[in-house]
């Protein structure tokens, strides 16, 4: 019982840590590219509104980056403190992949973020553009390596197990494992959608509190346009990813669908209360045959059910059903909410593009065209990307249970023998710290938005702690 408690608490603790961590890379990955876009538009047009947008959002980038770094350090220690069995069993494969992630993240952080954040007024323009581009490229590269490792844990190949330890046989197969391309694309799109709603939501907030600057218009349009373009791509990619999961981890798809018995003509459940004791659903509401059509593209396609994944003694070899079933629905629901809102916004902005006299002529979209309720709806959606990303993350990660590395090791094989009360105590402390930091993070973004709406900073380049650094560098330049 003691071991079980430690296992469960360690899992909750790891989930809490990684859930907190993933929020910030999700912002920085795409925000790096969006900042590059702002920076290039400024370089190309010389229009100050793009530089104002860069200066505002680079602060959010710096804050998110710092949050990501410190919570990332926590992650790298958690492997040893809570899950020593993981690296002992698959370290020969996970090691190099993690090493490349650390090396790329480290390299970028040390090398280019400094110039991006502090160098805006003191290095030549081309160098600043280059630094911004390299940071964007680097966060993407870092994402690539960590997704490679994560995907390999879901769909491992290119290894052999000798005496219980995995050894690499083909690095090509390890890196280009079957689920990697889908997972990477899904994550990149998730990051872009998170950022598009973040910039649109914060800009809508500035607009409704009376900020009519050209910067706000430009950023709001950028955010809504990215969202409207990428949401259909994400739905398509999510479907492809689902089919790939069906091929390699059918038990996960069965849990997502809440489908107990495999068979044809499976309905798509909109609502249900899966009950693992009874091994059936209560209160099912579903669309007949729809799951078969989505997964097999035939109304009578045979969809796998959870009862296919039982050991001879009846022990389930499938993930816990309710969390996977529900987090999947939260992800999809949020996604469709994002689709509806972003398309409605584009529609109104396009329809009313020429209603405004003079300078509005020829504009392809006008922020003025957005009805008030739509603007207000965008504000709470600023963090909708986080909700969808976390829900998707839970779907895929809880959906992997009881495996830690599919077919190689189960989660309980990796857990450290640490007393349960100690894990519980540290878990509660982590949760308290993370909750406070999240409140502070959202609070600071709201504060920065209000301050910008009031007329911005007295000093145009008062970015974070660079004030004093400027003095130092000016001194050095003399």
């Amino acid at each position: 019982m003691e071991a079980l408690d430690t296992l469960l608490l360690s899992r909750i603790q790891f989930a809490a840590n990684i859930s907190f961590h993933i929020l910030f890379p999700t912002v920085t990955i795409a925000l790096g590219w969006v900042l590059l876009f702002f920076r290039l538009r400024f370089a190309h047009s010389g229009d100050e509104k793009w530089m104002a947008a860069y200066r505002f959002w680079v602060k959010v980038f710096a804050l998110s980056f710092a949050m990501g770094v410190v919570s990332g350090i926590t992650m790298s220690f958690q492997f040893g403190t809570n899950w020593p069995g993981f690296m002992e069993t698959v370290g020969n494969i996970a090691g190099p992949l993690l090493a490349y992630e650390v090396l790329t993240a480290f390299f970028l952080e040390a090398a280019f973020v400094g110039i991006m954040l502090f160098g805006i007024s003191r290095v030549p323009g081309w160098l600043h553009v280059t630094a911004t581009a390299l940071v964007a490229f680097g966060t993407t590269l870092s994402t690539f390596w960590i997704i490679v490792l994560n995907s390999w844990m879901h769909t491992p190949q290119g290894y052999e197990v000798v005496n219980g330890v995995a050894f690499a046989t083909s690095w090509w197969e390890i890196i280009f494992n079957p689920s990697m391309p889908y997972r990477f694309a899904h994550m990149m799109l998730a990051s872009f959608l998170t950022v598009s709603f973040l910039v649109a939501g914060v800009s809508a907030f500035r607009w409704v509190i009376g900020d009519r600057s050209r910067e706000v218009r430009a950023v709001l349009k950028t955010g809504v346009a990215i969202a409207a373009l990428l949401i259909p791509a994400q739905i398509f990619m999510g479907d492809m990813h689902g089919l790939n999961t069906l091929e390699h981890q059918p038990q996960k798809v069965a849990a997502m669908e809440g489908n107990w018995d495999s068979g044809p003509n499976t309905p798509l459940l909109l609502f249900a209360l899966p009950d693992e004791e009874l091994r059936e659903n209560r209160f099912e509401i579903g669309i007949p045959n729809a799951a078969s059509i989505i997964l097999k593209h035939h109304a009578d396609g045979v969809v796998p059910g959870l009862n296919d994944f039982l050991a001879d003694d009846g022990t389930p070899l499938h993930p816990p059903v309710s969390p996977v079933f529900w987090s999947f629905r939260v992800m999809v629901g949020t996604g469709f909410g994002m689709l509806g809102l972003s398309w409605a916004a584009v529609f109104f902005m396009w329809r009313r593009r020429d209603r405004h006299v003079g300078r509005a002529k020829g504009r392809w979209m006008a922020v003025e065209g957005l009805p008030k309720p739509l603007l207000w709806a965008l504000v709470p959606m600023a963090f909708s990307g986080w909700v969808a990303t976390l829900a998707g993350w839970y779907t895929t990660e809880i959906g992997r249970q009881p495996w830690l590395v599919q077919g190689i090791m189960t989660t309980d094989m990796a857990v450290a023998d640490v007393p349960a009360p100690m894990v519980l105590g540290t878990l509660l402390a982590y949760l308290a710290v993370y909750a406070s930091l999240l409140i502070a993070y959202v609070g600071v973004i709201a504060y920065l938005a209000r301050k910008a709406a009031r007329g911005g900073d007295a000093r145009p380049d008062s970015m974070s702690h660079s004030g004093k650094a400027n003095v130092v560098a000016l001194n050095a330049a003399e």
């Binding site: 926590t74 040893g80 090396l103 480290f106 952080e109 502070a440 600071v444 560098a473």
Partner: protein, 336 residues
């Protein structure tokens, strides 16, 4: 020395060296900025801004040496990583909380409305102090062979105090270099007052290490090894005396030699660290697991090494560049 004809022999050694280098660089670099965090409440608000200014462009990169060190331990010696970190569960947890609070305090204190700033300043201090204490505790317990008894805890507690004050010392010497006038005089005073911890800390570790382990005792006190080991404590002693002499008289006329205390204290840290590394080699978990037993498969290590050969020199190159670009006083320029 390892056998260079066989990758299975020299790869673990190469990774242990690389990891050792990262830890040393980390201790010196994050040491001075953690130390400045610990000294923070002793300064006036405008001095605090200058203290932050003196580490602002560097602390982030300094901290990433810890990521590299732990990353190398994780990927090159996975078994050792598990044993060490699950033994040090609580101090690691405290250090992480400290690092989180401190790292975000940099960003938050510069962005929040002014009445919240005092809170983030306090968290900056608390985070720095907790991080330093936790690291000292881990160092102490590691030296005691990761054995957990009341006596080893006492030693670890002593080490944690010594390391925290030692970090303040190296932080103060950094400030002597980066500041002028009032704050510089304060920094000299802080350095003078904390030099004792460096002496006591190195002394305690040097005495305890050979006493706890017969193996380490034999490594140090056998002929002829002792002949080329003796200079290490001797040079350290000379450097400590030189520091003490300097700090009585600083700042010198025209602010000359203001970098010397920091350089000397870095050298003392490095010498003490080399002594420790010599004592524990080839063990990565003291007396239990050697780097050769704990190492990942040679093929995996080789792949990491290729990446490291590109990235580590680039990191070192950039770090040097950053220190050159941001050289000079972290203060208002009219004094220069």
């Amino acid at each position: 020395m390892p056998d260079f004809s066989n990758p299975a022999n020299w790869l673990p050694w190469a990774f242990a060296s690389l990891m050792g280098l990262s830890i040393l660089v980390y201790v010196v670099l994050d040491g001075f900025d953690l130390g400045i965090g610990i000294l923070f409440p002793l300064a006036e608000p405008d001095e605090q801004e200058r203290m932050i200014g003196s580490i602002g462009p560097f602390w982030d990169a300094n901290e990433t040496w810890l990521v590299l060190a732990v990353g190398l331990l994780l990927v090159a010696f996975p078994t050792a990583h598990g044993i060490i970190l699950s033994t040090l569960y609580l101090p690691v947890f405290l250090m992480l909380i400290g690092l989180i609070l401190r790292g975000v305090a940099f960003e938050f204190r510069a962005k929040v409305r002014s009445r919240r700033k005092a809170l983030w300043n306090r968290l900056f201090f608390v985070g720095s102090l907790v991080t330093a204490l936790a690291q000292g505790f881990m160092l102490g317990l590691y030296i005691m062979g990761l054995v957990q008894t009341p006596a080893t805890y006492l030693f670890a507690a002593l080490c944690s105090v010594f390391l925290a004050v030692g970090y303040s010392f190296i932080g103060a010497t950094w400030l002597i270099h980066k500041t002028v006038e009032g704050l510089q005089s304060k920094a000299v005073k802080w350095a003078r007052h904390s030099l004792w911890a460096v002496i006591a800390g190195i002394g305690a570790v040097s005495l305890a290490t050979p006493l706890v382990s017969d193996r380490i005792y034999d490594k140090w006190f056998t002929y002829p090894e002792i002949l080329w080991l003796v200079p290490l404590p001797f040079i350290s002693g000379v450097m400590v005396v030189a520091l003490w002499w300097m700090l009585q008289r600083m700042p010198f006329a025209g602010d000359r030699w203001n970098w010397l205390p920091f350089a000397t204290s870095s050298a003392i840290f490095a010498a003490a660290y080399l002594g420790l590394a010599y004592s524990f080699y080839p063990y990565v978990v003291p007396n239990r697991l050697t780097i050769y037993e704990a190492a990942s498969a040679p093929e995996s290590l080789m792949i990491i090494l290729v990446g490291a050969c590109f990235v580590v020199p680039a990191i070192i190159g950039y770090s040097i560049l950053a220190y050159v670009v941001f050289r000079g006083k972290a203060a208002d320029l009219r004094y220069d």
